[in-house]
């Protein structure tokens, strides 16, 4: 304790006890927020407000400045076109065509991905194959495969399904495989402790534990497939029968019916939001969010 002289010393002071704490006026421990504050705090209210103002700006801009409708139609005329084409069934038929192809391609892609990943978890050769194939094919835009697909499968739905499978397969396989690899060894040991082996081990332990990664893969796969489908239909839709939503947009732009282009884009956005915010969001809420695996 040689340094003691230069160091500041603690000051000892008398103790005290506050005996009449219960008598102290505590006032409002918790005050409710005002109604306006609460309404403005609701996300939906603020976002709806923003959406409405954007639409209002669009409408005002096109009407007041008298913009050429062939270049940029008013919001209301585009909306009008959307409703009338929906009512007379033309647009619905095209949407149905696109969705059908999309679902077939997506499901096939998922099935192949599942088989690949099963192989990948059971043998090192399979694992190597997956990581190499995904590294090679994931950066290859699937629409680039379309010329080849048309050569192999002809002009038709089969070609579209082929490119969709390509779009879904690698994204899902890549994420699922890396998700499986990252499952904590504690969870693996617990599964083995319960006597789980083979497929039950994968289904009951690996899949739920890697669900966040699998969901990411499915979402990325959906995003790529959706983009690929619209792109493919833009060009080749007509030759493959009824034609889909992409073709509807292309046709409208060729006929210089710009309201039709916007009506088609509205529909694309609508479907996209439905799939992402309703389907995927709900799956996430019911699984990984509930399990606390995602903030």
């Amino acid at each position: 304790m040689s340094t003691q002289k230069t160091l500041p010393e603690p000051i000892i002071r008398p103790e005290f006890i506050n005996e009449n704490i219960a008598l102290a006026h505590t006032g409002d421990v918790a005050v409710k927020l005002s109604v306006f504050e609460k309404i403005w705090n609701i996300n939906g209210v603020r976002k709806a407000f923003i959406l409405l103002s954007l639409v209002a700006i669009w409408q005002a801009y096109t009407v007041l400045l008298d913009v050429e409708p062939l270049m940029f139609p008013t919001f209301l005329s585009a909306l009008d076109r959307l409703v009338s084409d929906l009512v007379d069934g033309e647009l619905l038929a095209k949407v149905w065509f696109s969705v059908k192809v999309l679902v077939i391609g997506y499901a096939t892609g998922m099935a192949i991905a599942a088989i690949l990943v099963l192989w990948g978890t059971s043998s090192r050769l399979g694992g190597d194959f997956i990581s190499m194939a995904t590294a090679m094919f994931n950066p290859l835009p699937s629409i680039a495969m379309l010329p080849l697909a048309m050569l192999w499968f002809g002009l038709g739905t089969a070609s579209l399904v082929f490119v969709l499978v390509h779009a879904v397969l690698w994204a899902v396989a890549l994420n699922t495989h890396s998700g499986f690899k990252n499952v904590s060894s504690t969870l693996r040991m617990i599964g083995e402790n319960y006597g789980l082996k083979g497929v039950p081990f994968v289904v009951k332990i690996l899949v739920p534990a890697a669900l966040p990664a699998i969901m990411t893969g499915m979402k990325v796969g959906w995003a790529f497939a959706w983009r690929t489908l619209i792109g493919a239909e833009l060009v080749f839709g007509a030759s493959s029968g009824g034609g889909g939503l992409g073709w509807y947009i292309f046709e409208s732009s060729q006929n210089i019916e710009t309201e039709g282009v916007f009506a088609g884009l509205f529909m694309v956005i609508l479907i996209g939001i439905t799939v992402e915010n309703l389907i995927f969001r709900n799956i996430e809420l019911k699984t990984i969010n509930r399990w606390g695996m995602q903030r």
């Binding site: 304790m1 003691q4 603690p10 506050n18 421990v29 409710k32």
Partner: protein
Amino acid sequence: MTQGAHTAAGNTPAAAAVDPLLDVDGVTLQYKTKEHLITATYRVGFKVYPADRFVLLGPSGCGKSTLLKGVAGYLKPVEGNMRLKGVDIKEPGPDRVMVFQEFDQLLPWKTVKENITFALMNGGRCKTQSEANDIAMEYIKKVKLDRFEDTYPHMLSGGMKQRVSIARGMAMEPDILLMDEPFAALDALTRLQMQEELLQLWEDTHFTVLFVTHSIEEALIVGSRILVLSPHPGQVKAELNAHHLTHASTGDPEFGELKTKIHNMLFADRILEDELAAAAAEAEG
């Protein structure tokens, strides 16, 4: 160590002769949640003098962490005032360095040494990198982490991360070191060791520290002066001396008596809910 604390008690100046380092006077703190405006503390007042190991003790909901954040400058009081060396506290600053409970307080993109030098350079204590390096190494040695200076935080254990945080806090040589339950997330043995190391570091420089905990035992061991707070909202229940107690005295009857006294003070007239929380806190600490 025990010896040091005792002699310190012997030759101290009277409280009136020295100005308090930190003066908290009648402070009420409130914060908003999605639904409510919460009053965390109600007219709390206390004075911290140089070289104090001042502990804020209380159960969950007594606003002790909020109070510490207020002193750090993250929160403005709705009434009352807080002065450091006679100057009103307006915003966070390097003169009051905070050590948090959470392990992510170390910046993960900087190594152990860089974490400290970053603080020194940006906190304005050092002008040159080499000066900062020297100081950082000195404090890394003090917390016995030399050999780990170039490691990234994610490779360290929880106890090591807290040591780095303490080293960082001390290296900046703040007027007062603020510690928000720094050992709460550690296992029992590591916690004991860290408490001891903290006291040893204090013996070296007699720095001033404001320490928040919900463990009565930790308060008695670490603290020299204990502010006991009641919950919902936090109010001052008592201010007690514990400068003569350390790890060595945990077996003394006096230690046990003081512990029971504080325990009764906190939980005697509280509803069952609080007792449960306290039991949990006791089991933990």
